[in-house]
Each structure stands twice: as structure tokens, then as C-alpha cells.
Amino acid sequence: MGELVQGTLDMLILKVLARSAEHGFGIARRIRQVSEDVLSVEEGSLYPALHRLAVEGLIAAEWGVSENNRRARFYALTRKGRKRLADESQRWGRLTAAIMRVMETS
């Protein structure tokens, strides 16, 4: 149940969506599973974040049918989102590398 580093939720959402379109619950589940339950996304942050990304045009929302045949809103990465994801992951890589270096040397 780790707290998400601020500003990383957007990146994680984009990353999950880079694989395939997904609905909100799916995104949360995916993040939880891949992180082996270390990261859990709260609904209270997830949906506002999704909607914000949609408004910014980084993801597109579309109503579709879920795996259990229910109407669900699916989110997919847009081209703009893909570019943002590339930028963000690069930034993140640099940041974590820098933190690691500091932790190992000093």
C-alpha cells in the first residue's frame, strides 16, 4: 500500500494504456497487480486524473463493452499521450537514476 509519488499517477496511467485501451477499474487493477500490491490507486484520485488527461487530450474516452459484458468507459492513449509518456518516462528514468546515485554514494 505505498503512497504514489506525486505526479507519477498520470505517468502510470499513460503507461498502462500504452499496452491496450482499458477502463478505469482495469487501470487500477493493472497497476496493483504489476506492482505486486505495492501501489494502489484510490478511486478518488484515479477518476479525476483520467478526466483531466482526457480534457488535456492525452487520452481518449469511448464507451465500450467490458469483459463481463457491461457497458464501460474505455480509455485509450492518443498520439499526444504517447509523446507525453515518452517524455515522462525519460524524465522519470533520469530522476530515479539520480536518486539512486545519491543513495549509493553519500
Partner: protein, 686 residues
């Protein structure tokens, strides 16, 4: 575009959000059940994890739409509805705020009009005025380079004859360069200039003040070119000054007309001792008042040396008074009462605004107390505290806005009422009201601030409510609000008490003043003011003739004449000394030239000697004089002054003699509030 769409399809968006979240909830529950948790428990667990669904929806909506604006709009509507439901409370709040704000802006406008506002001129801060000069001295001073420009004016009452009627009008007799120096532009026509109205040409033109033009010439657009009969000569109107023109006199004094100096109006203008001009100078660029003052003193000393007889003491250093604004009022000692009055007025209206604010705060608190349950319910339903806070502030803002708007209306109304007032004094004073944007903004800000503070109190109170207790009944939290309310009420009562006491004191003063015995009979005396123009001997003859005619009129007991009415701020202050004292023992007294029978007419008791007789007029050589008790006590002590001789300074080193023939009881002379001053009655000469 997306947001705009969202605004338009709000309902659909809401439904979508709800469905999305429901789906999520459903999935979460299903997942928990798959983990082997009972249906009921899974439901609650999902519910618990999910948190406040409404809140999530609201936050998402905020992203999609102008939810903030929407909320504001709805709060505004809700606030208006609430206030409509509480009409009495809203009305009381708005009216008290309006009264507070209106009183403040009106008082400020009044003070601004009388004291603070600059006179109409180019760079008025560079203008200074100083003590009186005669026309010849003025001409010579102008030729020096003390100032960047020098003009002069002299207030004068002129007779304006219109058909069979004659009005006394208040004018400024000005040097021909007056308007050029000040840089004031007329509304109609063209003001006279140095080249076309030189005093030596004895110019017969006149520039009218706006009020005079509007009132007496009915705002005639073709006024330019008309001839006015002033003091028996015809003057051609060349211009009308604008409505907002503030004359160099300051204090809201608005002369009826401006006339160029000339022999027709100032027969004695070429006498060097006739120091009736008030000079206005423009400081040289980069020169301070102090530097100019030194240069001026040097120049005037030069004039004194050139004409030692006529210009005695002219070179004495004297202050340069700024021509405009608050500096001027501070420099003019005579304006002190006006400043004092302005200060008092400001305090009174400020207290009034405080009371109004406290009033509104009390009302808002009362209303808040009545809404405790409503607030608790809204909180329970998941309303954000920020939203509630906003709601309170918006309600205050509605009140403040309405109050300010009404206050501004009140200000305009009061100002136009003031502008119509004509004070019953010889000098026309007009309140030139200019709505002061800065002031309105300031007062409105004050009103808003006050209401926000008022609105904040209840809002803060509800930011940490005890939900359950508030839902069910009144709670202890009401106690703190009660305390705040009683504090407000106490403050209000205190402020009201202060104002009431002040008002009572003023009333008592007024009552005392009205009942002050001025020392003469005001109940049975009537006065007529006559402004003769013409040669002095004709004037004297006319006056004596009038006196004789009135003496025989039925119901008239006694008739006399005098030059200045007492208690009317008009003084003659001659320099006198006792003839039997040293030649340097001059002192100033107040002088009042009167006709025969003055004491009897005014019913001023005679203490010793006699008063002026008709026969005194024929034996002018004797120069009889009367003095009052204070004069006798201060300068003769225990001696009997009757029969003693006074020397009077007649200027240019000439001394006249006066024989004291009687002592009169003290009367009020300067004002009803002043103690008795030494007073000298002379026989009115002509």
C-alpha cells in the same frame, strides 16, 4: 471546446460519470466476492474503499466544466433566494450599509469640495499667494524675476442693475493676466488677456461665473456680447467659466463674475498705499517656496526703500501660502475651524459606517444561527466545506454590493442637494461636486471588507461543526456565536452612544449660542443693506436722507447706520494709541464706523458720556469716538476715558485724533463664541 460542450451537456456528463463510477464499484465488489468474501461484506468493503462518491463526481466535474463558475452562479441564485426569503433582514442590512457608505462618500465629497480639491489652474501646486499689495507695487514686483508669473485679485461686491432691480453680486477684480497665469479655460467665449484688458485702458469686459450665468441669465447660450450694468457702467460679457471651475479663492467660493482691474472699479488703484490686491505667483521651475520667499522679501524690501513713506514694513518677511489644497488650509489660520469641522465630520461618518457594519454582521450571524440545521444537512450530504464557505461569502457579497450601489445613489442624491444649497452669507459658496472614483472605490472596498468579515464569522463557525448534535438540536457551539453577537451589540450601542452624546453636545451648544445675549437687541431690530456707488459726498447725503425718511416712518423708534454688521466676519482693524502715551505705544483694536443714534437703535447701554448726535455730523472737526468697556478697562484702567484723546494711524504716517465722548457696554463682535474685544466706534464718514 470540450469544456463548453460539457457545460451544454451537463446532464449527460453527470449520467456518464455516475455510470462509470457505478461500474467501478460493481467490479470492485465482484472482485472481492471472487476472493471469497461474503456478498454483504464485499459490498461494505467496496463501499468503504470507494469513499465519497459524490465528492469524486464533483471533482471530475470540476475538470470537465466551468464547475467553479457554475457553483458561483448557483450560490448567487441561492443567496438571492435566501435574502428574498428574509426580506426584512436583507433590507435592514442593505439600508444600513448604504447609509454608512453614503454618509462617508458625501462627507468626503463635501470636505473635498471645500478644502482638499485643487483650484482650477495649470500646475496649481506651483501657485502661492501672499499678503496684500497695491497696484503700483504689484506692477513693480511683476517686473522683477521673483516669480514665473504674477497676477493679483481683489474680492469686491458690485451692484448689478437689471431693469428696475439691483442685485449685489460677489466678484473678483483681477489683473488682466489673471486667467493666463492660472491657465483656466472658459466654457463659452474667450477670457480677457493681458494685451486686451490692460488696467490702463480701463477695460469694460466681464467674465461670468457658471452659477451666476445659470441662475440670473438662465444659461443664455448667447450671453457673450451682452452688456451688464455693474456699478453704473456697462460691461460686455466676453466669457462664461465652466461649471467645475474652482476659483482661486478656494473653500468652494464661486464668484459671480471676474472683471479686469480698471479705474471704473478701483478708483484708488493707483495709490501706492491702497494694498487691496491679493497677489498670486507662480514659482519658477525648480525653485522651492523657501527660496522664492527669500527672493520676494528682498524685492519687497527694495520697494520699501524706494518708497519709504508709502511702503512702510512692506519688506517684512512673510509666509508664502500655497494657493491650493490641504496645504493652503493648513497655512491659513482662519481655516482652522473648517479643518476642525472636517475632522469631526469624518470621525462621525466613520463611526456611522462602523455601526452599519456591526449591524450587518449581527444580521448575518442571526441568519446563520437559524441555518445551523441546513448547514449540517448539507455537510452530511457531502458538501465540501469550501463550498459552504463560499456560500457564506457570496451572501455577504450580495449584501455588500446592494448596499454599495444604494450608497452611491444616496451620495449622488445628497451631493446634488448640497449643490443647490445657497448659504446665507455675503460670499457665494458653491459645492462643486465631482464624484470621486477613488473614494467610491475605497468606500465600496470598505463595505465589502466589512461584510466579508461579517460573513466570515458564521462561515468559520460552521467549518468545524459537530454533525450529529447540530443535526438534532441546538448545540453548545451556538454559545460562541452568542458571545460574538453580544460583542457586536455592545460595540454598536457604544458607538451609538458616542454619536448621540456628540449630537446632544452640539445641540446644547447651538441652544446656548442661540440664547447668548449678543449685547444688543436682535428681536426688534431690522437691517437693510445698501450698496451705493458714486462719489463719497453723495453717499453721505443719501444715507442721511434715508435715515431722516425712515425716522418718520410709522412704527420706527430709532434709526442709525453702520458700515459693517457685527458678527459677520467683516472687520476694520485700525491702529490707535493714547495721545497722552508714548508715540510708540500703538495697538490694534476692532473698529466700527456707525451713524448717529447707533447705541440707542441697537439698545446698547451707555455706561459713561454720550453717544453720537446728529450735530456731530456737522462738526466733523471734533472727530468724536466711542469705546467699549473692554477697551476702557484694558487701556485706561481706572481712569475715566471720556474726554481723552486717541491717535489713529491713517496710513502714510498720517495720524488723526479722536476724542472719546462715551463708553458703551460690551457686545459680541467677532462671533457669539468670542469673549469681548476692545472695540472702537467712529462716526461713519461717508
Amino acid at each position: 471546446v470540450k469544456r463548453l460542450k460539457a457545460l451544454l451537456f451537463r446532464r449527460r456528463l453527470d449520467r456518464d460519470l455516475k455510470e462509470e463510477l457505478a461500474f467501478h464499484f460493481d467490479m470492485a465488489e465482484r472482485e472481492l466476492r471472487a476472493d471469497g468474501i461474503s456478498a454483504e461484506e464485499a459490498h461494505y468493503e467496496a463501499r468503504r474503499r470507494f469513499g465519497n462518491g459524490t465528492r469524486i463526481r464533483e471533482r471530475s466535474r470540476e475538470i470537465f466544466s466551468f464547475v467553479y463558475l457554475e457553483a458561483l452562479w448557483r450560490d448567487l441564485q441561492y443567496g438571492c433566494r435566501g435574502l428574498r426569503r428574509n426580506r426584512v433582514m436583507a433590507a435592514v442590512g442593505i439600508v444600513s450599509l448604504a447609509a454608512g457608505i453614503g454618509a462617508n462618500t458625501t462627507a468626503y465629497s463635501l470636505i473635498d469640495s471645500l478644502i482638499l480639491h485643487d483650484v482650477t489652474a495649470r500646475e496649481p501646486e506651483r501657485l502661492v499667494r501672499f499678503n496684500g499689495l497695491s497696484y503700483p507695487n504689484y506692477r513693480e514686483l511683476r517686473a522683477t524675476s521673483v516669480f514665473d508669473g504674477l497676477a493679483a485679485f481683489s474680492p469686491a461686491s458690485l451692484n448689478w442693475r437689471q431693469g428696475e432691480e439691483s442685485h449685489s453680486i460677489f466678484t473678483l477684480i483681477v489683473t488682466a493676466n489673471f486667467f493666463e497665469l492660472l491657465g483656466a479655460e472658459p466654457a463659452i467665449g474667450r477670457v480677457f488677456t493681458e494685451s486686451d484688458a490692460r488696467a490702463e485702458k480701463d477695460p469694460r469686459v466681464v467674465v461670468l461665473g457658471y452659477r451666476f450665468w445659470e441662475r440670473y441669465l438662465n444659461g443664455d447660450p448667447h450671453a457673450v456680447g451682452r452688456a451688464l450694468n455693474l456699478n453704473g457702467s456697462l460691461f460686455t460679457v466676453v466669457a462664461v467659466m465652466p461649471k467645475q471651475y474652482r476659483s482661486i479663492m478656494g473653500l468652494g467660493i464661486s464668484p459671480d463674475a471676474f472683471l479686469p482691474m480698471g479705474a471704473a472699479l478701483k478708483p484708488r488703484m493707483y495709490e501706492r498705499t491702497f494694498s487691496m490686491l491679493i497677489p498670486v505667483g507662480r514659482l519658477l521651475h525648480g525653485r522651492t517656496r523657501e527660496q522664492t520667499r527669500d527672493a520676494l522679501t528682498a524685492a519687497l524690501r527694495g520697494l520699501e526703500e524706494a518708497y519709504p513713506d508709502d511702503n512702510r514694513n512692506l519688506g517684512r518677511p512673510q509666509p508664502l501660502i500655497p494657493a491650493t489644497g490641504l496645504d493652503r488650509a493648513k497655512a491659513m489660520s482662519g481655516d482652522a475651524p473648517l479643518l476642525f469641522f472636517s475632522g469631526i465630520l469624518s470621525c462621525v461618518v466613520a463611526v456611522l459606517l462602523l455601526i452599519a457594519c456591526a449591524n450587518v454582521a449581527g444580521l448575518l450571524l442571526a441568519r446563520a444561527a437559524g441555518r445551523q440545521r441546513e448547514i449540517a444537512i448539507r455537510l452530511a450530504l457531502g458538501a465540501g466545506r469550501g463550498r459552504l464557505f463560499q456560500q457564506f461569502l457570496i451572501e455577504s457579497a450580495i449584501l455588500a454590493a446592494a448596499g454599495c450601489a444604494l450608497g452611491i445613489v444616496l451620495t449622488f442624491w445628497a451631493a446634488s442637494a448640497f449643490a443647490r444649497i445657497r448659504l446665507p452669507i455675503a460670499v457665494p459658496v458653491g459645492f462643486t461636486f465631482v464624484p470621486n472614483v477613488r473614494l467610491l472605490a475605497f468606500t465600496a472596498a470598505l463595505g465589502f471588507l466589512a461584510t466579508f468579515l461579517c460573513g466570515l464569522a458564521p462561515a468559520l463557525g460552521f467549518a468545524r461543526p459537530r454533525l450529529a448534535s447540530d443535526l438534532t438540536a441546538r448545540s453548545a457551539s451556538a454559545m460562541s456565536k452568542l458571545r460574538l453577537r453580544s460583542f457586536l451589540v455592545a460595540g454598536q450601542i457604544a458607538a451609538c452612544a458616542v454619536l448621540l452624546i456628540a449630537a446632544l453636545l452640539f445641540l446644547q451648544n447651538l441652544h446656548r449660542i442661540v440664547n447668548t445675549d449678543p449685547g444688543f437687541d436682535t428681536a426688534h431690530t431690522i437691517t437693510v443693506s445698501v450698496q451705493p456707488n458714486g462719489a463719497a459726498e453723495n453717499t453721505a447725503a443719501m444715507r442721511d436722507e434715508m435715515r431722516g425718511a425712515l425716522q418718520n416712518a410709522p412704527g420706527v423708534e430709532a434709526v442709525s447706520s453702520l458700515a459693517y454688521f457685527p458678527l459677520n466676519w467683516e472687520y476694520w482693524e485700525p491702529r490707535v494709541r493714547r495721545a497722552d502715551g508714548p508715540a510708540t505705544s500703538w495697538f490694534h483694536v476692532y473698529g466700527q464706523p456707525v451713524g448717529p443714534g447707533y447705541l440707542a437703535t441697537m439698545r446698547i447701554p451707555l455706561i459713561a458720556g454720550r453717544e453720537f448726535y446728529e450735530t456731530d455730523l456737522r462738526n466733523r472737526g471734533d472727530n468724536p469716538a466711542l469705546i467699549n468697556e473692554t477697551f476702557a478697562r484694558e487701556h485706561f484702567g481706572a481712569l475715566n476715558p471720556v474726554g481723552r484723546v486717541l491717535k489713529i494711524d491713517r496710513g502714510r504716517g498720517i495720524e488723526g485724533s479722536l476724542i472719546i465722548v462715551g463708553v458703551a457696554r460690551n457686545t459680541k463682535f467677532r462671533s457669539l463664541g468670542n469673549a469681548s474685544v476692545p472695540l472702537l466706534y467712529t462716526l461713519e464718514s461717508g
